[in-house]
Amino acid sequence: MKKENIWESVLAQIKLDISEASFNTWFKHTNISTLKNKRAVISVPNTFVRDWLQSKYNKTILKALRSLNKDIKEVQYTVNPSIQQVETPNKKRKREEENNLNQMEFQNLIIDSETGLNPKYTFENFVIGPFNELAQAAGYAVSENPGSLYNPLFIYSKTGLGKTHLLQAIGNKARKRQKKKKVYYTQAQKFISEIISSIRNNRMEDFKRRYKDVDILIIDDIQFLSGKEKTQEEFFHTFNDLYEKNKQIILSSDRPPKSISALADRLKSRFEGGMIADIDYPDTETRAAIFKSKAQEKDFFIPDDVCYYIAENIQRNIRELEGVLNKLIIQQKITKLPIDLKNIKSILKDINQTSMYSLSFNKILKTISNFYDISEKDLLGSSRKKEIVKARQIIIYFLRKELNYSYPYIGKKIGGRDHTTVIYSFSKIEKDIKRNEDIKEEVSYIKETLASA
C-alpha cells in the first residue's frame, strides 16, 4: 500500500472515533511525509497540532498505522507550515486600492528573489499573432527542452512589443515544469552594475559562482552591453561556460546582433549561433485581440467595435495600448459614461494629444551625438572624418524629415553649410536607408529613442 493511502485510511478510522470539530482542528492538512525504517513521519501545519497529536493521539495513530502496516514501530511529527491555508484576503480593502489602476507598486516585492522572474508573465496570457508566432514557438520549445534546441535563443523587437513578457514566460514555464532547474532572469543594465560593483569590491569570484550553476540564463536588453568592454569580456566567459555545459541562454535586444554597435565580434557571432527570432509590429486584428485580453485581465468589459477602433488608432506599441486601457478604466470610474464609440473618440483625442512628442533641434542633436558617441562640437564643426560626416548627414535627414526645416535653414543650424550640401546629404541618407540594412536599423533606432525620450 502506498504511504498516502495508508494515511487516508488512518484518517478514516480516526474520523469515526472523534468529533468533527476535533478532526477538522487537528487532522485537517496533515500528511504522511516519509515512511521508512519502521518510522512514519507525519507532517502537520503548525506546532500546536504537533504537540497535540504527540501527547493526545499518538497511541491512536500508531495503532491505526500498525493495523495497516505491521512494520511501523514509531511515529514522528514534523511541522510544515506551507501546507496550511493562507488567510483569505480582505476584499473590501482590495477594492479601494484597485480604484486607481495607475497606483504603482514596488516591483521588487512581486519578483521572485531567487529567479528574478515576475510570476505574472506567462504563456497563457501571451497573445499570439502572425507578428510574434515564430518567437513564441521558439520560446515555448526552449521552455520544454532547455539547452538542447536553440541555444542561444535571441529575440529582438522594438520596445513595448512583448519581449520581456516572452522571456519571463519562458523562465516561468521552465521553472514550473522542473522545479529543480535554476533559472535566472536579469536585465543587462543590472548585469553591468553587478560586474562593476564586483570589481570594485574585489568580489569577482562571488559573481562568477553565481552565474556558473544556473541552468537557464535570461538576459533582457543585451544591447546595453554596447561599448562596455570589460562587461562584454566577463559576459563572454560566462556565456562560453554555460554554453559548453549545454545550459540554455536566452537573450533579447531591440535589434539583431549584427546591428548592435560597439559589440565585440566574437560575441556577435555567438549570438548568431543559435536561433534568432524577431517580433514585428502587430496587425490591427491582433492589437484588438491584445487589447481585449488585457481588459479581461482587469475584469473590464469593452465592446468589440471599441477594441477595434482603439487598435486602429493606437499603432505604435502594446505598452501604449495598456496605457489607454488604464486611462479608460479610470475615466469610466469617474464619469460613469458608457464605453461606446462616441465617448471613446473624445477620450482618445485627449490621449493622442498628450502622447505627441515634441521634437527640437537640440533633442535631435543630443540624441545623435549620444548614439554615435561623437561630441556635439565635432558634429557642428568642420571635420571631414568619415564617421562624423555620416552622423552629420543623419542629423540633416532628421531635421528635414521630422522638423520640416528648409534646406538653407538646416545649413545655417549645423555650422553654416551650403544648402546644396544639405540637399545632397538628405538624399544620400534617404537612398542609403533603402539599400543598406545597417543604416536603416540605425535610423529607426534613433527614431525610437527620440520618440521615447
Binding site: 477538522n24 503548525n46 500546536f48 506551507s82 493562507v86 484576503p89 486607481n100 504603482m104 469617474i334
Partner: protein
C-alpha cells in the same frame, strides 16, 4: 484546586489572556481559558491555535489543580465583583467562586481537553525596552494588508543585527522601516516575520507594562516574554507562529539618493493634505509640485463633480522641480507616524518612490509609490 486571589489581579489577568481566546465555534474548547496552579502561582492561558497568551500571578494556593471555563462568562462576572478577595474552588468540572456575599458556579470542561501551548526550542534571545518596541510597532502596524498573494508581506518583519533591530512592514504600495538600537550587543543576526495580528496583541500587552521584554526565537515560533518585576518568574508570555518564507529584499526599495528635497512643517502639511482629501474623488489622487527655486510645494486635488483645491506650503528645498501624484491616504499614514515637528520629503522623479522621514533622527523611513502620470 483551591486558591484565593485579589479581584483586581484576577481581572487584569483575564483581560490580558482574553485577547487570544477564540470566538470560533468550530472547536468550543478554544472559547475557554485554562486556570492552573503552578507552585505558588496561578497561571491563566488561552489560545486560538495561532497565538497563545499565558499570565501568572502569585496567589494563596490551598490545593493544586487545573480546569478550563468559558472565558466570556468568567471575565464578565469577575468584572462585576467588588475589589476584594475571591476564593476559587474546583468541584468536578465546575468552578465555584466566592467573594463576600456572591456565591457562583461556572460550568467548565476538564483541563485535559485544552490545547497545549507549544514550548519553544530557544535559538536566539534578545532583550528590548517594552515602551520603545510598542511605540515602534505602532508606527507601522497598520501597513500590511492581506490582499496580496505573497503571504510573507502580510506580516511584520523583524531583523536583528549585532547592534540594532529593524522592523519593516509593507503592502507593496508603501513600506516603513523603523530602527531600534539594542541595549546589549547581539551575538548573531537573525530574522523572522510575525503575523500582523500577533503584533497587535503584542502592542496591547506592551501598553500596560514597564519591564523589558524578551524576544525568543525558535523553530517556526516566536515567544515574547515579560518577567515579573519582583521575581525571576514569567509574568506574561505571548507565543505565536511565524510566517514561513523569506522577506523580500526590501532594502533595494528605499531610494539611496534624491533629486528633490523639501523640509516642511509636519502639522501644517498634514492639515493641508487632509483638506485636499475632500476633493480627491474616488481615485484618492493628490498632486504635489515641489519648486525648490520658490522654496514651496503646491498641493492640488480635483474631482469633476466636487470641484478643486489648491494650496501652497513654504519650506526649505533644493534640487530640481518635480511634479508627482500620490494616494492622499498613503501620505497621511506616513506623516502621522512621524514624531518630529518637521518632516523631510525626498523624490527622484515622478515615477519613482517618494521618501518621508523625520528631521533630526534617522530611525524611521517611509517609502511610498506614486500614482503614474
Amino acid at each position: 484546586m483551591k486558591i484565593t486571589i485579589d479581584q483586581n489581579k484576577f481581572n487584569e489577568g483575564l483581560s490580558i489572556v482574553g485577547r487570544a481566546s477564540s470566538k470560533s465555534i468550530t472547536l468550543p474548547i478554544l472559547k475557554n481559558i485554562l486556570l492552573k496552579t503552578e507552585n505558588n502561582f496561578l497561571n491563566l492561558s488561552s489560545t486560538d491555535l495561532e497565538i497563545g497568551i499565558k499570565w501568572w500571578n502569585l496567589v494563596k494556593v490551598n490545593k493544586e489543580g487545573e480546569l478550563t471555563v468559558p472565558y466570556h462568562s468568567l471575565s464578565s462576572f469577575i468584572s462585576f465583583l467588588p475589589s476584594k478577595k475571591i476564593n476559587l474552588n474546583k468541584k468536578g468540572n465546575n468552578l465555584l467562586l466566592e467573594c463576600e456575599e456572591y456565591k457562583t458556579q461556572i460550568n467548565g470542561i476538564s483541563a485535559e481537553e485544552f490545547p497545549i501551548i507549544p514550548q519553544i526550542k530557544e535559538k536566539e534571545k534578545v532583550l528590548i525596552e517594552s515602551k520603545i518596541l510598542c511605540d515602534s510597532l505602532l508606527q507601522l502596524i497598520d501597513i500590511p494588508s492581506l490582499t496580496k498573494v505573497k503571504p510573507e508581506i502580510s506580516g511584520i518583519f523583524f531583523l536583528f543585527n549585532k547592534e540594532e533591530l529593524k522592523i519593516v512592514a509593507t503592502d507593496s504600495y508603501r513600506l516603513a522601516e523603523k530602527k531600534i538600537i539594542l541595549k546589549k550587543d547581539n551575538k548573531s543576526s537573525f530574522s523572522f516575520i510575525i503575523p500582523q495580528r500577533t503584533a497587535r496583541e503584542l502592542v496591547n500587552i506592551l501598553k500596560e507594562v514597564k519591564q523589558d521584554i524578551e524576544v525568543i526565537f525558535g523553530e517556526n515560533q516566536i515567544l515574547f516574554r515579560i518577567k515579573m518585576s519582583d521575581f525571576n518568574h514569567p509574568y506574561i508570555e505571548l507565543t505565536s507562529k511565524v510566517i514561513e518564507g523569506s522577506y523580500p529584499d526590501y532594502e533595494s526599495i528605499i531610494p539611496g539618493k534624491y533629486n528633490t528635497q523639501i523640509i516642511l512643517n509636519k502639522d501644517e502639511l498634514l492639515n493641508k493634505i487632509k483638506a485636499a482629501s475632500v476633493f480627491v474623488g474616488k481615485i484618492n489622487e493628490t498632486h504635489l509640485t515641489i519648486s525648490p527655486k520658490k522654496g514651496e510645494m503646491v498641493i492640488k486635488s480635483e474631482d469633476a463633480d466636487l470641484g478643486n483645491y489648491n494650496t501652497k506650503i513654504k519650506g526649505r528645498a533644493d534640487g530640481e522641480e518635480v511634479n508627482i501624484s500620490f494616494n492622499y491616504r498613503f501620505l497621511i499614514d506616513g506623516l502621522s507616524n512621524i514624531k518630529s515637528s518637521e518632516v523631510i520629503l525626498e523624490f527622484v522623479n515622478e515615477n519613482s518612490p517618494g521618501v518621508i522621514k523625520p528631521v533630526g533622527k534617522s530611525d524611521f523611513v517611509y517609502v511610498v509609490m506614486p500614482i503614474k502620470k
